[in-house]
Each structure stands twice: as C-alpha cells, then as structure tokens.
C-alpha cells in the first residue's frame, strides 16, 4: 500500500482550504445570528446590548407560526407532488429508450434555466388570464414548475447507476413487471427519491422569486423576510430568519434520522428471522 501515513501532522494546504470554504459558507449565517441578538432598529455591529428579546417577541407572535405554517404547507405539498411526478419522469429520462427521449430530456430541464422572476411573472399572467386567484396553492404549482425538473434529475442520476438487468433478473425469477418494479427498481432508487424529496422541500421552503408573484394574499417566510428587510426592519427579522434556518436544518436531520432508523429496523428484522429459524428447527427440513 501507500507509504504515506494515514494522518499527516500539521495543517496542510488541503485542510486550510477546506476550513476557508466552510468559514465562507457559514459566516453569513453567523452574521444573521449576531444581528438577531441586537435591540436596534437598524443593522449595526458590534452591538451595545446583547439580548434575546427579538426571539422572545418572535416566538410569542402569531405571525411567526403562521409564516412557518404557510411555508411548511407549501414545501411539503411540493415535495410530495414533485416526487410523484419525478419518479415516472426519471424513468422516462434515464431508464427507457424511446423515440423523442432526447427532446424530452432537454425540454424538461428548460424551466431550470428560466430566470425565476420571469417564470414567476409568466405564471402570474397565465393565472390571471385563466381567471385563477393566486394563493398558496398557485404557489405550489409555480414551485413545481421549477422543482420537478431538478428532482427528476436527482432521481435520474440514481437510475443511471442502476443495472436494468436487475429488472430482467427479477422478471426471469418469476416476478411480474409490477413486482419487479416494486421489489427491485423502487428500492434501488429509493435514496434518490429521498434526496429528491428533501431537495424539493428545501428549494420550496426558501424560494422567494416565484412566491412573490404567485402566493397572492398568502405570505411565505422568505417573502415576509424580504419585505420587512426593505421596510420596517427590526431584530425580529433576523430572529425569524434564524428560526427558519433551524426549521430547515430540522428537516434534514429528520430525514437522516429516519434513514438510520430504517437501517436499524432492517438489521433487527434479519436477525430476528435468524432467531426464529433457529427456534423452529423442525420447520427447517421440509
């Protein structure tokens, strides 16, 4: 094997670079946290007074809960619908060869390359032409236009790594087409589906340009943050922003936790089946 020791002493350029990237990525969030601990009506640093007043106020307010609820509702529905659409979409994208596939592969990615404010405006015009009054549901639709292509791509990447002979093998071993999909293809792409759903949730949760045009009377978190930043600023704005970061972090942690839980349950199931076959040796010999 390599003659190099596994851990190198001292800080190497690689470690320094990594540290630099991490700092640059997270510094802005830290600054928001710092801003939320002030009691001034404008952004200034360093503070003269350090206080949690803004949090106390924000948590006590109906607006905070309502904003989170609206954004959560939209993000959840977007995540569910986008996965439902993206699974067949990804199969068409990456698994099956059919006439027109190349055109489809390009067409489906087009919304991602559209500037979001333009897309939002276009959707608003289309909605009013159709006589639909915008509210959170039209925002769901707008988010889907932008998010479904991305989720399709995420699941497609997983499908490209999937050996289609596995489906044939399942079929050859007596599975129906549906069983082959359920038992083999779906579990194989499940990690892609989970990542796709998480992506969809977070992209919707933090979306501003599409929401601004399409939520109508409903207000999402990013919309509220933006408008209060522009006018009527108070430390409540960064405080609610920090809470919303915590909420999205919670979503990621929840997914990781569920994944770990599933793995643990899977392990227990196989070991318990082991135990049951050992417990009934009579059954073992047919």
């Amino acid at each position: 094997m390599s003659a190099r020791p596994e851990t190198e002493p001292g800080l190497r350029p690689r470690q320094l670079f990594t540290a630099l990237v991490v700092v640059l990525l997270y510094l802005p969030i830290v600054s928001v946290v710092l801003a939320s601990l002030a009691n001034t009506r404008y952004l200034i640093f360093p503070h003269r007074v350090w206080t949690l007043d803004a949090y106390a106020e924000a948590i006590g307010q109906y607006t905070t809960a309502h904003l989170h609820a609206t954004s959560f509702k939209i993000a959840l529905v977007v995540a569910l619908i986008s996965v439902a659409l993206a699974i067949p979409g990804a199969l068409a994208f990456a698994r099956y060869r059919w006439r027109g596939r190349r055109l489809y592969q390009r067409a489906i990615l087009l919304p991602v390359f559209f500037p979001q404010p333009v897309l939002g405006l276009a959707l608003l015009v289309a909605l009013s032409a159709a006589g639909i009054v915008p509210d959170w549901r039209t925002a769901v639709f707008a988010h889907l236009v932008w998010v479904v292509p991305i989720v399709t791509l995420v699941i497609s990447i997983r499908l490209y790594g999937f050996d289609p002979a596995q489906e044939e093998a399942a079929y050859d071993l007596g599975a129906t087409r549906l069983q082959a999909f359920r038992e083999v293809t779906l579990p194989a792409i499940a990690p892609g589906i989970v990542s796709g759903a998480l992506f969809a949730f977070l992209l919707s949760w933090s979306n501003l340009p599409l929401s601004m045009y399409t939520t109508g009377a409903d207000t999402t978190l990013p919309e509220w943050l933006y408008s209060r930043m522009a006018t009527n600023y108070s430390p409540q704005v960064p405080a609610i922003a920090v809470l919303s970061v915590a909420a999205s972090a919670l979503a990621v942690v929840a997914v990781l936790f569920l994944r770990a839980l599933r793995r643990a349950v899977g392990r227990r199931r196989t070991t318990s089946s082991e135990a049951s076959t050992l417990a009934h040796p009579a059954r073992a010999t047919p």
Binding site: A170, Y171, L173, T277, H280, P286
Partner: protein, 375 residues
C-alpha cells in the same frame, strides 16, 4: 458428493429415464428461430436441439448473436420468426416469468439493496413461500455453492467477485428450474477464479442433472465444460459437435480458426495425389472431395523430425518466433524457398536444448492429420 440431494434441486434423474426422454424429445428445440432488428438479423434461422441434462455451450465472437439467442430462449426477447419448443411445448409467447428456466446474467444483476439470503430467496418470495421457509432454502443453497451459512444476512454489495458469482448461481437454482442459462457469467473475473468456478459449475451440472445452456466468447471455457459446443457466426450456427470433435474436425475455416491457432493451406486435387502449391508440398496417393479447397492442420500435428526422419510431407525452414505453452512451445516457421510462402505453425517440446528462433528445423506432416474445410 454425487448422491447429495440438498434443497434447491431435484436429485439427478436416473440415466435410463434420461436417455428415453432425450430420445423422445429434446429439452429445447429451435426451429428456424430468427430475430430481426430492422433489416439486420441478429439471429438468422437457427435450428438446434438441446438434449435433456446436457451441458450445451454456444460460443462465438462478440456480435455473433449468441446473447440475443439466449435472451429468446429465456423469454426476455421474442423471435420474429420460427419456434422455440421447451420439452415439445411451443413457448414463443410464454414470458420469462412463466418459463421453468432461470438465467445467470453477464452482469450477474444481483439485487444490490438486498442481503445474500434475500437475493437467493427472491424467486421463492415471488412464488409466495413464507419468509422463514425461503430463508431456510437459501441456507441450503449457500451450502450448494460453497458459501458459509453466515452469509445469509450479509449485504450482497459486501461480497467479493467470486462470492457474487456464487450468489448469482444459487439465486438461479432457487426456483428449481428445468433449464439454466448462463450469459458469459465468468467474463469479468480473473483467470484463477474463473478456472475454479468453471469446475464448480461443471460439478453443479453433474450434481443437479439439469440442462445447462452456456454462452461464452472464450473458447477454452467451452472446451472445458461442455458436452456439446455450437459455434455461432453472424447469427447462424456453423457447427455443432462435442468439444474435441469441433477442435479436431472443423467443417469450415471459420470454425478451425476460431478454435485456436491453425495452418490453412490451399489444396488442389491432382492425378497423382493432393498438392499444396503454396508450400510446394504433395501427398501422393491422397485425394480430396473437391477439385480444390482448403486444408487445415493444428500446430501440434506438425512435429519435429530428426535429420533424415520420415513423414508423408516435410516442411523445412527457420524458426522466426516461439510461444511457450508449458511443456511444449508453438513455433512460427518460415519455410525454405520462395519468400511468399506462408508462415507455418508447428509445436515442439519446450526443453532447454530445443531449437530456438533462428534455428533450422524440419517438421513432418501426415495427410490424415489435415482436415478439408470450406471457406
């Protein structure tokens, strides 16, 4: 070992019953089976009979249509013309999941998200066998393919190349199929392991008594394992015979050259015998079925003669190259005389004092060791 009847397969059928069955009807019969893709025919009017309990290998270069043929036999593809008869029953329209056959895929196609046990037991799960019972069957099959029972819960992604091969074998055996198909399963593993698995597959064939249909582009694999070999070229079967026969008595130049290094000479029938004009050789008193054609001779048929030794015909020349094959070595000989004469392949013992490149040797050849073939 031969009398073992572990779970997962029926004991070998008794020989006389098997003989009768094979006389009555073949395990698989192909009648004019064709698979066309647009204008090209990947498989072109193949007629074939595969006997019950036979180890039958289809060998051919890449793109010869052997994989397409196998996929049709397994029910993963449908012929565009012709019939496939499984024990006398036409199965053209029977899909793969309803055929009593199982396939070991080239990529193995193991289910990566499952444990070894769940992979092996998959076919049983599809048949509604309870989990406890099917894992018990899987445990038995692990033993059949020489894997420890502790592998039952091991994720299949953590298995080595050889272990994955064995899991794929066990998985195909789980449904107790009448016929097993192998689509070049050993093409991607190292030589030593391949040899070991060849022996194991052959042993498995003997123990189960099932019909094995194996495809490969590796000649040596076909020679080592098969009862009969079919050679395929451009969608057609060009010769079917036991391995030694197909090696010794090829019917065409393609077969002769595919089966290993071989000398190919033009031969002409003359009044006094057969002449090889390219080498200036003659076999007096011999004859050919046609006025002219090709004669092929394996290198090992051209043996070294002592000075003045006798043979029907003698090729003398200078060694230009040598390839050691263990105790013997193949030599490339430039014949004396005209420079346009073809290089002759011969075989001599690889002793330390054997002639090396640059040395002059005389190789003897008997007409009986040559085969007349078509182009």
């Amino acid at each position: 070992m031969s009398d073992r009847t572990g779970p997962g397969f029926a004991p070998a059928r008794d020989a006389t019953a098997q003989e009768q069955l094979s006389v009555e009807q073949p395990a698989l019969a192909l009648r004019g089976v064709t698979r066309a893709f647009g204008a090209s025919r990947a498989v072109d009017a193949v007629d074939l009979e595969i006997r019950e309990g036979e180890f039958f290998t289809i060998v051919g270069p890449s793109g010869s249509g052997k994989s397409t043929l196998l996929r049709m036999l397994a029910g993963l593809d449908r012929p565009t013309a012709g019939d496939i008869l499984l024990r006398g029953r036409r199965v053209n329209d029977v899909p793969a999941n309803a055929r009593p056959t199982a396939m070991v895929f080239q990529s193995l196609a193991l289910f990566d998200h499952m444990s070894v046990g769940d992979n092996i037991a998959f076919a049983l799960k599809m048949r509604g066998v309870a989990r406890t019972e099917r894992l018990e069957r899987a445990r038995g099959l692990l033993d059949v393919v020489h894997l420890p029972a502790s592998y039952l819960d091991k994720p299949v992604t953590q298995c080595s190349g050889g272990e994955r091969q064995r899991v794929a074998l066990a998985r195909a055996l789980a449904s107790d199929p009448d016929i097993l198909f192998f689509d070049e399963p050993l093409s991607a593993i190292d030589n030593r392991l391949r040899k070991l698995l060849q022996v194991e597959i052959k042993e498995l064939h003997r123990r189960t008594g099932k019909t094995f249909v194996y495809i490969t582009h590796a000649l040596e694999e076909a020679m080592v394992m098969s009862d009969r070999v079919a050679l395929m070229r451009a969608g057609k079967i060009v010769q079917v015979a036991p391995p030694l026969e197909i090696y010794d008595r090829p019917t065409s130049r393609f077969v002769a050259e595919f089966m290993g290094e071989v000398n190919v000479w033009c031969a002409v029938r003359e009044a006094g015998g057969v002449a090889l004009p390219e080498l200036g050789l003659a076999f007096p008193g011999e004859t050919l079925p046609q006025a002219e054609g090709l004669l092929v001779a394996r290198p090992e048929k051209l043996a070294m003669l002592g000075e003045g030794g006798g043979a029907q015909a003698i090729v003398a020349g200078t060694i230009v190259d040598e390839f050691v094959l263990g105790s013997r070595k193949q030599i490339h000989l430039r014949p004396d005389g005209d420079a346009s004469r073809p290089i002759v392949f011969g075989e001599i013992p690889a002793t330390p004092d054997a002639p090396a490149p640059g040395a002059r040797v005389r190789l003897g050849l008997a007409f009986a060791d040559c085969r007349f073939v078509t182009e």
